[in-house]
Subunit: 146 residues, 2 copies
């Protein structure tokens, strides 16, 4: 796919190790940059962006665009263990930032629906449902009541 070879560099190894260590969480470019500022070799943001871009392309990292005025979030995806084979969907709470992983027939069903009715091949590994989780919704309701 990617015509050119990928070199094995120190920056790439360390970045990958860091992303793996934060699996299940989201990190921003800023956070990554700051981490390496304090731990070992600093990595230039340009390099971070370029690696992340590749990883998003090959599916080893998911990119979430939560807000226009804050950096995009990235999350490492373990293709071995996780939700790529049995379809798994992600719900991200926009209030508390919690990420919920769901496996659910109903959700899988919409994949078929999108394909059959709309000719669209959904990619669940990259699709995120944004909204508000139960806990945050309760808080919101409680606030509205007063």
């Amino acid at each position: 796919m990617n015509g050119s070879t990928q070199y094995r560099t120190k920056q790439r190894e360390e970045l990958l190790a860091y992303l793996r260590s934060r699996q299940g969480h989201h990190v921003t470019v800023n956070e990554i940059s700051e981490f390496f500022q304090g731990n070992g070799t600093p990595i230039g943001v340009t390099t971070i962006y370029r690696h992340l871009e590749r990883m998003v392309e090959d599916g080893s990292v998911n990119k979430y665009i939560l807000d226009k005025n804050s950096g995009a979030c990235f999350e490492y995806v373990d293709k071995q263990h996780s939700c790529v084979q049995p379809v798994c969907f992600h719900c991200k709470c926009e209030v508390c930032g919690k990420l919920i992983h769901l496996k659910c027939d109903e959700l899988e069903h919409i994949q078929g629906h999108l394909m059959k009715q709309h000719g669209f091949a959904l990619d669940p590994a990259r699709t995120v449902f944004y909204g508000m989780c139960e806990a945050c919704r309760r808080n919101a309701v409680a606030r509205d009541v007063q």
Copy 2:
């Protein structure tokens, strides 16, 4: 809610008229700005941003953040003609970049499902289904065959 009064200005009227005329479509701030560049009185982008922000707050306009490197999309919502806010879902083709917006019962149904079964309040304005559109899928298949 909004303590201060809202004046009825020419810019606001014209902006509103334009948004209404493009109901069911997405427009970016850039598109709006360019439209008024050529039709009647130009409106400064600052003003456009400020009005849109208000309209998003009061629910008369939906804001979609689809991509980091292009402007946010806005869509006028007619609150008069339906008690339920019209829900629009988005499919973005990762290959050609095409954006498809769908209004579909089946998709609205999953909103209810997520709420009932998973306690999650889906925000369709922020949620984008990523995948591959019909045309690109055909091309991909054609390429794989050779």
